[in-house]
Amino acid sequence: MSSFIPNQIFTTSGSLIDLLDKRLLVMLRDGRKIIGYLRSYDQYANLVLQDSIERIYVKDVYGDLDRGVFLVRGENVVLLGEIDNNKDDDLPLNQVSFAEALRIRDQEAEERQKQERVKNQLLHNQGFSVDFIETDLY
């Protein structure tokens, strides 16, 4: 394919084509991580993922939840990574239930939020712009 269209790899579709049908980790703008098989995509990096799971990582544990088929709008994609199955099988992390992972994460987030509020006010007073919402970062 690339032999008769040499510049093919320098388009969005060209660079995603070799990820088709691979198991990918997709990071979304809101911080969520989805793992699934890439079945389709377009030039905006809109994606269709099959047999997907949502995985919550917190500290040294993780929790999975089956999510089925996802169509992800491109603008919400931060990064796609091809998963090395050898490495994925022996992660130095322990699996817990999704509910447990969620609980630990929310606990941590609450703690952090309290501190952020104070910090942001201080930075604002110094003339820095303050991002209030996580998705505002991008």
Binding site: I9, F10, T11, T12, G14, S15, L16, L19, L25, M27, R29, G31, K33, A45, R55, Y57, D60, Y62, G74, E75, V77, V78, L79, L80, G81, E82, I83, D84, N85, K87, D88, L91, P92, L93, L137, Y138
Partner: protein, 100 residues
Amino acid sequence: MLFYSFFKTLVGQSVTVELKNDLSVTGTLVSVDQFLNIKLDNIRVENEEDCPHMMSVKNCFIRGSVVRYVRLPVAAVDTALLQDAARRETQQSTTSGRAA
């Protein structure tokens, strides 16, 4: 198109992409497109303890819009050429902008 062309000259070089969520990914630049989406191979994450999800990932596609910086190998950048190209590019875009 200046930076798209520029990044194409850097294919094969080792670069570090710093994302707006503070994730820093180092790897070999494989490809870039007109949105400055970036593909990296053999990746390594700078703050690995903060991102356990990246441990099993070997190559990745980064959406251009989430990039904050790309740290580049200084030897691979011809600064004189780059400045000339930037002067030409802006001259072009302003004249065509007025004509339109």
